[in-house]
Symmetry: C2
Subunit: 190 residues, 2 copies
């Protein structure tokens, strides 16, 4: 998505540790009109996938999942990290390793929000090592639902997550794929 | 908001510990079309408030903040709980007590996302004891910005938070105020 690449070049910043900071529009401050356009692009890419529900994980996936859900006229569900007071009753859960924080956490959703009749599109802001999306794939499997694919705003193409998911047969569409980034450079995969 | 009260009566459930479960549409699964209607109502209520930015806190405030931001044609910012790798540089932060979890946490945003020229509307899904909103008020003050008010989806009118904020002169608008709730009853303040 050309407009996203341009926005990343204009507003993004590369921090030490291969962190791409896009807090001005995607995951701290949110430019909702721009995200609605990203949502439309996701809807276009998965127009033939008969998606019934979007699944993301708190918190920075919520905004882009909201935008995609608006464009696709379906609800979204966000997995919570660790069980909270608001998730009661039967749950679907899986353990996910956070490379950012060096710890494991449990992603959990209420069992009633996914059924075996669902075709689920996973949505997230970033795809790097793929741990979060792999966890969501597990939750979809536990629900007996079908994973129709994964849509992410920004994929770090130089990390293994995206290709590992594709090798498993999951359709992954990234609105922008960063091929390489450094202090003074940032190039996209075309 | 009549439609919200009806939806709470239809889909909500009261759990032990005065927990109102509305995960089917507000804070686990999200009915985006319904939330966009709630966003329009928030925009209508604060049409005269010259709001320039919406501030919420992760994660269950994000969806309703997104919806309000769409209707008001402004960006929203969400405070993170504890500093993460994605919040770098100078920050605005404050300590908040979580009554749900019995612990304190730090709410933080990048300093660049609020300025003294901003008129900020706080948005959240629930208002109970008011600790989260009081923390956001602190962040707005630290930014030198003006707090134009607070809009929440559901206020627990039997807890002290809403009235405490109003006594401080903050305009609080709740789309639904639960007056009383029990195992088999739920009434709204009119």
């Amino acid at each position: 998505m050309k407009a996203l690449e341009e926005k990343i070049l204009r507003e993004g910043a590369v921090l030490p540790g291969q962190v791409l900071k896009v807090g001005s529009f995607l995951n701290q401050q949110v430019d909702v009109e721009f995200l609605l356009e990203m949502g439309k692009e996701i809807a276009r890419l998965f127009a033939d996938a008969h998606v019934t529900k979007i699944l993301t994980i708190e918190s920075s996936g919520i905004a882009i999942a909201f935008a995609a859900a608006v464009a696709m006229h379906i609800p979204f569900v966000f997995a919570k990290k660790n069980k909270s007071a608001n998730v009661s009753g039967e749950v679907l859960q899986t353990k996910i390793h956070s490379y950012t924080h060096g710890t494991d956490y449990t992603a959990v959703i209420g069992k009633e929000f996914l059924s075996e009749n669902d075709r689920v599109l996973l949505v997230d802001d970033f795809l790097a090592n793929g741990a979060a999306l792999e966890g969501l794939v597990e939750i979809v499997k536990k629900a007996g639902a079908v994973c129709a694919g994964a849509a992410v705003a920004i994929e770090k193409g130089f990390q293994r997550g995206g290709d590992a998911l594709r090798k498993k047969g999951i359709r992954v569409e990234s609105l922008a794929i960063v091929e390489e980034m450094g202090e003074n450079s940032l190039t996209f995969r075309r």
